[in-house]
């Protein structure tokens, strides 16, 4: 190392502390936010001032420390740097200092960037001698009544998370940072051959393997056959590969479904096996008194079967069967955008990590899904994100929140911040999503994160070749995220935050962005793509990435070649670490130097972990793991990938009586409309949307909030993936957990059809071609352990088949998370409603003909398409009235697709001035949204609303019957529109006229004027509940 420029009295490495304070309170945005949070929850606090704290372990003299503070860390205009621990401003009254610092080993992107910037400033500092950590200091100015304990408790709830951060009641001034201990190889064998069932189960639980008894027996028998005990890394590898998270063993299992033996009731169809008949992979046995059906590989026989049936049908009908490029095989599904490019899409869940550490959980959730897109084919470029969250209502009383569970508002704020910080930094627009509220998400919030990518059609497939190098790119490996895959496959309890804190992590979006930049440069290299296959390191880390890539050819891995964040990791930790931002590529040896050159130019770390292509003596593809010259694990690929026992599962289902419809006589319709607009499921989500950059990359066509006031709730987003082309992609979703078995008469079969119908409606409203809509499933279930729970999952899967075929919308990818229930300290079970999120991706042939939901012009006609029915079960009307809703609405699989195609025909005829999905809250909510979003008055007349049978007025106004659309048609186009709809046999009627005033009025011939409300009142009522 060269000498420093000021060698006299040169310091040895020690921790130097620098605080960065805002010069004026007006520049202290973080302090102000903390103060605002304290107003309601921390009595005695007058003001909180916030500072950033940098701890730098390096050989720096005082002058250099001063320069670091002034030139690098503090902004000379708005901030000032204070070396050491600054004194508190006692003149302003009593002060308590609280500091929040990430625990050692937790990802700290600011620290990493600061270290790199310090090396740029002082090239003499070598990497080994420079470590940076950061933290935050909060000075609580108070009235003399605040205690340090109260301040710390407030900080733990609002300023950080004890799972990943340490809290101090004074400035944290460490002498030095504890360094990791060098790890000496200590190969561990785990005795299993002599274990009985109880021993196997104990091992599974205590080692956090979360494998079933049958799976443990299979492992034991394998090693009995080999006449040796497994090493720890072999057991870990099997546990990761066989985890529910990685192998989806529940959805892929064989299921025997028996309808309940009860007599058919009014709610149950006469043929309880009706929804199972005439389907591939289904064996019906109704000879005896107890009919049943056996479904071989549930997923393959339902979700996937529909896709392959549609592909064959499409090939026959319009010769465009090749629209589906890649389905179910890869990290994401791929469909054609045009003749040169495809679009890849994937939606994942990241529920358990988000429950414990919502910020990091949501950020790494979207980060992982983005990596799935990068790891599709020979790499897709991420172009859009979608995020849906499910949480308990923010008004939930503290007494209703179980021990160790975070308050719902805190969870929502943090998951939004996590997605915001990751997506925005990656430069991927977050264009679509929603937030669902239900009491039973209190302990199991759901975080769905999706990503769409653009991929050249000739780069959609990769294949590992024997001899390819195993190359890891991106972030370093640390102890973070260990056991994430098995953790996500277990049920949460109140001790999970302690036990699985290490499974939770913080992401570093810039590392992932740099890695993406390298991969796209390598994909588009002038000499051809430099790699033959790629995948991401997700759950299971290297274990699942290399294990999957090497399935056909085997792999020989040198674990000591992986660059580590710190010393001390053993070989098994390296192998299963789920450290973020890592990709694995199979690279032909002759391309390695070219790839190295790209990495060097982009400051991305590359490591060569070994060779693809390895067989045992019998020629079986084998995974061999080496550490410092010793073989630490050896597993045949067939055992890993096909060895998992798949027991037949039992399922049953019995309908529950729906009860009576609510009593609605004398309902004040205007007042009810206002209540519905304020329901959090319906209220404006602008607080979320505005924090996301939804326009980066320049492809935005239909934004999440539309109209002249920029506030209309768009049904779907439309983006233009290629800036020199007008072909677009619509992105939407549908989800209806309120129709599931959580309510009397609920049915996951119908809830799923509603979700598909809604996702399609949303895409069609903005101008997607219903013949070019692909959909994705995300099953989030409370559990599937007992036959009743399994029955609801089976019915949802059957619904996927029926819905996909009816709408002509193939599933192209999906994911499941099947353990979302929580056992409280006192043994109470809180189970989420079965929640199936359907995400739709539709092609918009010409974005210049896309449409939005805001009303455009007074004088235009408002039409409804579709039939309104009386059923109010699961409706938001029932929710705001706190009454049972009676039977749930059902989807008509003829009408739904026909209505969608009619709206598409109107788009093509240029007959639409706006189109809006009629869903939560029914006709009045949808109509009000159109009017106040366009700031154009509306006079509604419900006299001729197409209804099926005797539908009372409240149901006409608020029923959530599926397959309905509200459309705005200019007077000049009305005849044409009527003709199109009549020709299609679609039920429709004009139910209103947009008007040159500032109100929303409604009437019927029978009742006369129903209400007359100001648009501004409606708008404010809708915007206020979540205007945080």
């Amino acid at each position: 190392m060269t000498a420093l420029s000021t060698p006299v009295g040169a310091e040895t490495a020690r921790v130097r502390r620098i605080e960065v304070w805002p010069k004026h309170d007006t520049h202290d945005a973080h302090g102000r936010k903390a103060t605002a949070a304290a107003q309601t929850t921390c009595p005695g606090v007058r003001r909180i001032r916030a500072a950033q704290v940098f701890l730098i372990s390096a050989t720096l003299d005082d002058d250099q420390v001063r320069r670091v503070g002034e030139e690098l860390l503090a902004d000379s205009i708005a901030q000032h740097a204070v070396p050491g621990a600054g004194a508190t401003d006692e003149g302003a009254g009593p002060v308590i200092t609280i500091e929040v610092h990430p625990q050692p080993g937790v990802m700290d992107p600011v620290a990493e960037s600061t270290a790199a910037a310090l090396r740029d400033m002082f090239p003499e500092l070598s990497g080994d001698e420079l470590t940076v950590r950061t933290g935050h200091r909060y000075d609580f100015h108070h009235d003399g009544t605040l205690t340090a304990d109260a301040a710390r408790a407030f900080a733990q709830a609002h300023l950080g998370n004890p799972v990943i951060e340490s809290f101090y009641v004074e400035p944290y001034v460490p002498e030095n940072f504890a360094a990791g201990q060098h790890y000496e190889l200590d190969l561990r064998h785990i005795p299993v051959r002599e274990l009985d069932d109880a021993g196997l189960q104990r091992l599974s639980r205590e080692a956090h393997l979360f494998l079933s008894l049958e799976e443990m027996r299979t492992i034991r028998d394998h090693f009995r056959g080999l006449d040796r005990e497994p090493t720890d890394i072999e057991l870990e590898t099997l546990a990761q590969t066989w985890s529910e998270h990685c192998v989806h063993k529940t959805l892929k299992s064989t299921v025997t479904y028996k309808p309940s033996a009860e007599e058919p009731s009014d709610e149950a169809p006469d043929d309880p096996l009706r929804i199972f008949r005439d389907k591939p992979g289904h064996e019906i046995d109704d000879d005896g008194p107890n009919p049943s059906v056996t479904i071989h590989n549930l997923l393959k026989s339902t979700v996937a079967a529909a896709t392959f049936t549609l592909r064959d049908r499409s090939a026959e009908e319009d010769g465009k069967g090749d629209w589906l490029v890649s389905v179910f095989d890869d990290n994401a599904g791929v469909v054609k955008l045009d003749d040169i490019h495809g679009v890849a899409i994937k939606v994942e869940t990241h529920n358990h990590p988000s429950a414990i550490e919502p910020y990091g959980g949501a950020a790494t959730g979207i980060g992982g899904c983005i990596r799935d897109i990068i790891g599709t084919g020979l790499a897709a470029k991420p172009i859009a994100n979608t995020d849906t969250f499910a949480v308990a209502p923010p008004t939930t009383e503290y007494s209703e929140i179980p021990n160790s569970v975070l308050p719902p508002r805190r969870i929502l704020e943090q998951v939004v911040a996590g997605v915001r910080d990751y997506g925005n930094r990656m430069g991927i627009p977050t264009v679509n999503g929603t937030v669902l509220f239900h009491d039973d998400y209190v302990a199991n919030p759901l975080v769905f994160a999706g990503c769409v990518g653009l991929i050249p059609l000739d780069k959609c497939f990769g294949e590992v070749k024997p001899g390819d190098r195993i190359i890891a790119l991106g972030g370093r490996t640390g102890r973070d995220g260990i056991h994430g895959a098995t953790f996500s496959s277990a049920e949460l309890t109140d001790t999970h935050a302690d036990e699985f804190g290490h499974a939770v992590q913080i992401g570093n979006a810039i590392t992932e962005k740099q890695t993406l930049d390298v991969i796209l440069a390598a994909r588009d290299h002038e000499d051809g793509t430099l790699f033959s296959a790629i995948t991401d390191c997700g759950a299971g880390g290297f274990s699942s990435a290399i294990g999957e890539m090497g399935e056909k050819v085997g792999a020989d891995v040198n674990l000591d070649a992986a660059p580590l964040k710190y010393d001390g990791l053993n070989y098994a930790e390296v192998w299963i670490s789920e450290a973020q931002e890592r990709m694995v590529l199979a690279v032909p040896a002759e391309n390695l130097e070219k790839l190295r050159a790209i990495c060097a130019a982009e400051d991305v770390e590359l490591s060569d972990l070994g060779t693809f292509g390895h067989h045992d003596d019998q020629g079986t593809p084998t995974l061999r793991l080496n550490f410092r010259g010793t073989v630490v694990g050896e597993l045949p690929m067939p055992l890993l990938h096909d060895g998992i026992p798949m027991p037949t599962r039992q399922a049953t289902w019995s309908p529950t009586p729906a009860g009576h419809a609510p009593a609605l006589d004398g309902l004040d319709l205007g007042d009810t409309l206002l209540k519905l607009l304020a329901h959090p499921n319906i209220a404006s989500k602008h607080w979320v949307v505005r924090q996301y950059d939804h326009e980066v990359q320049g492809g935005s066509v239909v934004k999440p909030l539309v109209g002249p006031l920029q506030l209309g709730p768009s049904d779907a987003a439309v983006i233009r993936p290629k800036l020199d082309s007008n072909v677009g992609v619509a992105l939407s979703n549908g989800v209806c957990p309120w129709l599931s078995e959580k309510i009397p008469g609920g049915d996951s079969y119908q809830a799923t059809l509603h979700a598909i119908d809604e996702a399609v409606r949303n895409s069609v409203c903005v101008g997607a071609d219903p013949n070019r809509i692909a959909i994705l499933d995300n099953f989030c279930w409370p559990s599937c352990d007992d036959p009743q729970a399994m029955g609801t999952l089976v019915r949802a899967a059957e619904s996927c088949y029926d819905g996909a075929l009816a709408y002509g919308t193939p599933f192209v990818s999906g994911k499941d998370s099947l353990h979302n229930q929580f056992t409280t300290e006192d043994g109470r079970l809180i189970a989420i409603p079965p929640t199936l999120l359907v995400t739709a991706l539709g092609i918009v042939p010409d974005v210049r003909r896309a449409q939005t939901m805001d009303a455009k012009r007074s004088g235009n006609a408002l039409l409804i398409i579709g039939t309104t029915r009386a059923a109010l079960g699961g409706s938001h009307l029932a929710a705001v009235l706190d009454q049972p809703g009676g039977p749930i609405p059902t989807v008509d699989l003829d009408a739904g697709p026909r209505n969608a195609r009619s709206v598409w025909a109107l788009h093509q005829a240029d007959a639409l001035a706006s189109a809006h999905d009629c869903s939560e809250g029914g006709v009045l909510v949808a109509a009000a949204e159109m009017a106040f979003s366009g700031d154009i008055g509306l006079d509604l007349d419900l006299t001729n609303l197409p209804a099926d049978g005797d539908v009372n007025l409240p149901a006409r106004c608020f029923a959530e019957s599926p397959s309905r659309y509200l459309i705005e048609v200019p007077g000049a186009m009305l005849d044409k529109a009527v003709r199109v709809l009549r020709d299609a046999g679609t039920p429709f009627a004009q139910i209103g006229t947009f008007a040159d005033h500032d109100r929303f009025t409604a009437r019927t011939a029978e009742r006369g004027r129903l209400f007359d409300l100001q648009l501004a009142v409606l708008r404010d009522t809708w915007r206020r509940p979540l205007d945080w």
Binding site: T26, N424, A509, K513, E695, Q697, V706, D724, V847, D854
Partner: protein
Amino acid sequence: MYYGRYYGLMPPRVLILRTAGTNCDAELAHAFRLAGAEPVTLHLNTLIADPGKLEDFDLIGFPGGFSYGDDIAAGRILANRLKHHLYDALLAAVDRGVPMIGICNGFQVLVKLGLLPDPHGDTPENPGGPSGGGQQVATLADNTSGRFIDRWVDVSVPDETRCVWTRGDDAVLPDHSLPIAHGEGRFIADDAVLDRLENNGQVALRYTEDVNGSARNIAGVCDPTGLVFGLMPHPERFVTATQHPAWTSMGEGFLNETTPGLRYFHNAVAAVRARQNDVATV
């Protein structure tokens, strides 16, 4: 250097400078291409290795994004790297008359680097400027709301601005809308600096209302030559009508209009062409 450019035969060449975390480079290149220029995107490391490459370009764009994660503060680390490795080469480009634009993160970088608002640090209080230039006199701090915000805002161009990007040949751009997407966009400086910027025609763009707490609603500033321009809103995100949030209610004609955002780039390309013609006719 090739002669064709001096006769306006070749499109002006634009350097788009990117580094770790830059993420608006593709749409900025697209905007320049639509305006008739030829963009080349280079990584900072390439330029640090060979600062002479800057001489190949007629225009320079500093795109938006989160350079180095905006860790420590927005644009801070990239500004420091530029200061240590490329300040002289950038100053030479300013003196050569190369128009530059810093958008969002690019603006934050130019201000923290000290290239805006006074590249030479040449102020009345400090005649001749600090040695080596590059003195930060303003900053972009956290929005007063304390959070990131993406929405469209109305902006207006002061009549007296010198900025070649917002003032066309004959008149400044009329009031228009542009999207913002930032968490640290609050422009602040001492009153003396603000007065000087206003009196010297260096305020190039203003919000028509308070959107993030910026002093005097300043959305963008330029250097004393009017060539170097930085702004928080994203003109490169409004180069096509369908990018506007309410384009579906603007009528058919709107789809074919030249958007205000694109006109920024037309103006700069025109300025380069005019200078090239001046050179050619000398």
